[in-house]
């Protein structure tokens, strides 16, 4: 990823759509974990096999762990989840640097604990959610993976390459 991201913060619609895509990804991953657990159960005792019926608390806990791990790893490594990649977004610090592991984990926890905090991005002029305001992070447009759109997008003066 050589092209710098567009420094303009992303709006609420794009971020909600990206979050919805990420929710689908987490649900798919959770389903995969469920099927893996069922397969393990079948392999352990085929004669007495029954589909697992975990309690809701366990389901929510496992889902939260999966989502937290997914968001933390994505933001700490590439700065973008699958949903952000599809919508052309990237999560950076206020100085347009990658989030560290700690800040990424903390941001993921806050997002899972209070998802409506994202709506604050529709109100503030800098388009920051409550989590962004607390952790000094920012979600910006990054279409550098699309050559045609990246060429038409204005580059940030004097900030090229700082996020990498």
């Amino acid at each position: 990823m050589n092209s710098p991201p567009d420094p303009r913060p992303a709006g609420i619609v794009t971020r909600v759509v990206a979050a919805a895509v990420d929710l689908v990804v987490v649900l798919v991953m959770s389903g995969g974990v469920f099927l893996a657990a069922a397969a393990a159960r079948f392999a352990w005792s085929p004669l007495t096999f029954r589909w697992p019926s975990p309690p809701w608390a366990l389901v929510l806990a496992v889902g939260a762990v999966i989502a937290g791990a997914y968001l933390t790893i994505a933001w700490a490594t590439t700065g973008r989840t699958y949903g952000a990649a599809v919508l052309g977004l990237r999560v950076l610090t206020a100085r347009h640097l990658k989030l560290g592991w700690a800040r990424a984990a903390l941001r993921a926890t806050l997002c899972l604990l209070f998802p409506p905090g994202l709506l604050w991005a529709a109100i503030t002029r800098r388009r920051r959610s409550l989590q962004d305001a607390l952790l000094l992070s920012e979600v910006v447009y990054d279409w550098s993976d699309d050559a045609g759109l990246a060429a038409s997008a204005p580059e940030p003066p004097g900030r090229a390459g700082r996020w990498t």
Partner: protein, 250 residues
Amino acid sequence: MDPGTQRGQVGAAAAVVAGLGLVAGRRLWEAGRPVRTLASAVLGRSVTLASVLAGPDAVAALAARGREGGAELQRQARGLLRLLVGEVLAAFLETTDLTALVRRHVDLDAVAAGLDLDAAVARVDLDAAVARVDLDAAVARVDLDAIARRLDVDAVVAGVDLDAIADRLDVDAVAARIDLDAVIARIDLVGLAREVIDAIDLPEIVRHSTGSLTSDTIRGVRIEARQADDAVAGFVDRLLHRPRQAPAGP
């Protein structure tokens, strides 16, 4: 001495000999006139005397005998003459070039102009003549390869009005007689399809088109979402009575 001069001298000598012969003959004929008169008188008297002495019957018999003898002599003379003429003609034909003689002395054009060729052809039985011709043998003797080699096919084709022929051609009728099922049965359609697919690299085309479609779709979603971001931001700005922000990016 050249042959022409020699022939002229021989002709002149022959003319002199002929003149001498004619003069001598006339002299002899005139000299024999008294003898001929005397012989006629003696002959007349002899006949009269013989008829008196021997009787009329005997004279008639003698006359008949004489006529028979004359006829016999005439017949023998005619045969001798025919023999002589044959010998003379044979000698003449052996020594004479009749073709050259005819060419030199006969006006063949005038002869041909006088011929009624239409009448001559009308009398010819052409059907019988053709029936006697062995056409198979005649064709077998023809060297068709040599004729074909001498043939200027390009000139022949250039002279053919192919457009006119094509206009008269009933293509529908020709197509109706074609057994398409038999033609298709001889075609290896599977092999042909495999060759075409190998040639056009279908998997690469599918990959390229799918990637392009995906890219276009994602680009459209991004643009729509970004415009929606700006619309929401504008709405919130109006709601909060804030100055409107500039649209963000493309």
